[in-house]
Amino acid sequence: MEQVIFTERANQIVRKDGAVDFTIACNRDSLAGAVSQRACVFCGSRVVLYPIADALHLVHGPIGCAAYTWDIRGALSSGPELHRLSFSTDLKEKDVIFGGEKKLYQALTELIARHKPSAAFVYSTCIVGIIGDDLNAVAKRVEAEQGIPVIPVASEGFKGNKREGYHAACKALSKLVGRGDVSAVSPLSVNILGDFNLAGEIWIIKDYYQRMGVEVVATLTGDGRVADIEKAHGAALNVVQCSGATQDLAVMMQETYGTPFIRASYFGIEDMSQALYDVAKFFAEKDPGIMDRAKALVRDELSMLYPKLQEYKKDLKGKKAAVYVGGAFKAFSLVKSFRHLGMDVVVVGSQTGTEEDYKELAAITDEGTIIVDDANPLELSAFIKEKDVDIFVGGVKERPIAFKLGVGFCDHNHERKEALEGFAGMLNFAREVHATVMSPVWRFTPRRSGKAASAATSCTSPERPCDCAEVK
């Protein structure tokens, strides 16, 4: 059943075979005509910067780019919610011909007057890259006139995929960092990077750090505030989650301010605990009691979580999962989380993983697991069938593929409404997996019942015609 659908993509798909050295092609441009699940540079920048709740996010371009990103992500704010509005310069034909700088200037000026944001981000879209508006000049002028940071984001969509967008966003963020006064910041302090506070997740993580006695200076960018980000260089450590999104910022801050960083994942039991231990280890010299506090915290949380997980595991043992997510780092945690539920991940892939990411995935998965870079609906559906999985973890674009084929689904993307991070999140994850995998509805779907449920199929039994038109 190992058919190759797009020959050009053959080396972006690997079946794990321990006897052979692992290689995979990745970080390529998407193939023309294949329906890639990827987005664009702009999307990457938007994802990273969007949760900054007291900033104005103005999309400079035609209306679609802004309309499709209006309040679509569950990034929560504990205060202002300016990020949930969608601002666009809504470029028209004449702007495309004569340039959009004047319109951009007016738009920024009127929106800043109306909403009094703490900063403004201006995103470039594809056609802005073509018509050649000078965003820097406009931003500088408005910044001088309005007295708030106005930061252009070089996110022209065609310049690559989401990764380049992350980079552009990090560059934009680095222009905010360093502006604030850090004299009051504790020596036991961190910034949380690469978490977007979906369904309030960053509040869970922040609470853990605070219980350990660590001050959180800035959250980047979930529940983010401009003033906190301006003080971020005062923190002793950057804790960076996710493979790509904010790593570049951590590197920039290390170069400019000497702030060290560690990587972390807050999904699943091992990775969550490890993150807390790593932070504790970092501060152990300054505060010898911190490791004990971290351990106690993990113990408390686990003693509540464990028995409940066992209940779910009873039902889920031996079931199979397919995982297709944006960044590969999330995939690592998911492979481990499924193990806790007694399940195996048999297909795993990402939109933007790197060679090392895929090597690491190959190392932690079982023989025969399909590992894929930048997949498309035809491939994903073929893998689901080949491996006969019970659940598919992905985003909204993957959901109908799973459901059409009679497979359970868990939304692990930016639109999720359930917190999946932390120990509490692991329980939510287990509950969600259980709810979908164990649903009685699968037995009625054609894949399981062997019966085509589609009314579109024509009459199969001439003796018992299904339509009166067929009665002679």
């Binding site: 005509g33 209306i63 679609g64 499709y68 034909e93 007016q106 890259g129 085509a452």
Partner: protein, 451 residues
């Protein structure tokens, strides 16, 4: 450009971009894969947006242009992409829409396609339906209408058919199914274009279907030039830009322009046209639906009487809703749309002028910020529109929102919302009355057990 608005920026758009509409229309053609000539992002965003409403697979291919193509032209990628879609999807037709990027760099799609045809003429090529859809002029409705005109332009011929053309506009899959039932009741063969009633609201599958089954058959579109007549819904349409207009210009197929049959009177007009075309009188089942509707309007009129309602959405939908609102006794206070055909005001007046004492405010080319701004002083009791107005209008004003049209991203069953015909009007009326009742019940401390 916006009626009386000093703002240059758009906040919370009440419209979508042109190619999205084109993709939706192409989904209603059998064996057709929508294809966007542009960068990858646009296609992915539109897919996500459409999927969240219909909850069905929506594959939209893209020529996935990168930086080099943006500078040197996207012809090579477009050809490669077309070949891939032909080969992997086995498409019978490819609906090819441009995007802002390829329009701006000035890719000559016509020329690229003629090169493509001469280079690969030896292969059996699908029908390629090209439509120009720069988003910086127009909205998704222009893309929708343009795509249908493109399809007819490429495919339609003169071969005679008894089937009447029904160009039903941007309606729900349930609406399309209902239109089929109606035509069948009149024993009137009909070609409904586009027909995404199965492709965007289909059954469960055994095997992954590369192209969702269903859609207006290509052979039927080929015969549209030989049809006895076309019914085209939408009072704000300009026939010079529609499929129905083209069929009339080129093949002399008589075009009957009607409003979307929303509510009693617009449906009556539709039925009258069908009676004329079929030579039959109103079928009994439909007559019974009409009778029940009128009875319900009487039974429920007090719940809705004089309630102020705010309407927004695509222009033709908004006109239909305004007509319906007026005839059931609601008072439309604002009819708003992100579209700007220039015909909204006159269309609203035409459908409600003889009922309403005072014409509602009509706003075209507006965004939700402006609608919300106006709403503050208009104090509506009820809102009719898509789900995008939930947070910024309905929640803000604490007023019920009856969800209609597209998108409905925050409720289940969007594909099965029915707007058209007597049955659609019945459903809308029940929902409107219940929304008002529910609000009254919820706001009262008494805990009314009957209302």
């Amino acid at each position: 450009m916006k009626d009386g608005s000093p703002f240059v920026s758009t906040t919370n758009a009440c419209k979508l971009c042109t190619p999205l509409g084109a993709c939706l229309a192409f989904k209603g053609i059998e064996g057709c894969v929508p294809f966007l000539h542009g960068s990858q992002g646009c296609a992915t965003y539109m897919r996500r947006y459409i999927i969240s409403h219909f909850r069905e697979p929506v594959d939209i291919a893209s020529s996935a242009l990168g930086e080099k193509n943006a500078i040197y032209g996207g012809g090579a990628n477009l050809k490669k992409g077309l070949l891939n879609v032909m080969d992997k999807y086995g498409a019978k037709a490819i609906g090819l829409a441009t995007t802002c990027l390829t329009e701006t760099i000035g890719d000559d799609v016509k020329m690229i396609l003629s090169e493509f045809r001469s280079e690969f003429g030896d292969l059996s090529l699908p029908a390629i339906l090209p439509v120009s859809t720069p988003s910086y002029s127009g909205t998704h409705m222009d893309g929708f209408t343009g795509a249908l005109r493109a399809a007819v332009d490429v495919l339609a011929g003169e071969e005679k058919t008894p089937a009447v053309n029904v160009l039903s506009g941007f309606v729900s899959p349930e609406d399309i199914r209902h239109l089929k039932t109606i035509c069948r009741a009149f024993c009137l063969p009909a070609t409904i274009l586009p027909d995404y009633s199965d492709t965007l609201d289909g059954g469960a599958w055994e095997e992954y279907e590369k192209i969702s089954p269903g859609g207006t058959p290509i052979a039927a579109i080929r015969a549209m030039g030989g049809a006895p007549a076309s019914l085209e819904f939408g009072r704000t349409l300009d026939p010079a830009r529609t499929a129905g207009g083209l069929l009339e210009e080129r093949f002399g197929v008589k075009r009957l322009g009607l409003g979307l049959p929303i509510g009693l009177r617009e449906t009556d007009a539709f039925m009258a046209a069908l009676e004329e075309l079929s030579g039959r009188c109103l079928p009994r089942a439909l007559g019974a639906e009409r009778a029940r509707l009128v009875d319900a309007l009487v039974d429920g009129h007090k719940y809705v009487a004089g309630k102020r309602c705010l309407i927004y959405g695509e222009e033709d939908l908004a006109v239909g809703l305004a007509s319906f609102a007026a005839e059931i006794g609601l008072v439309p206070v604002l009819v708003a749309s992100g579209g700007s055909s220039g015909r909204l005001t006159s269309a609203v007046a035409a459908v409600s002028g003889d009922i309403l004492r005072e014409q509602p405010q009509v706003a075209s080319g507006v965004d939700f910020y402006e609608i919300a701004d106006k709403a503050k002083t208009l104090a509506p009791d009820l809102i009719l529109g898509n789900s995008k107005g939930y947070r910024v209008l309905a929640k803000e004003l604490n007023v019920p929102l009856v969800r209609v049209g597209f998108p409905i991203h925050d409720r289940f069953g969007a594909s099965r919302v029915i707007h058209l015909g007597y049955r659609g009007a019945q459903s809308l009326f029940d929902r409107v009355a219940n929304a008002l009742i529910e609000k009254k019940q919820a706001d009262s401390d008494i805990g009314y057990g009957y209302i």
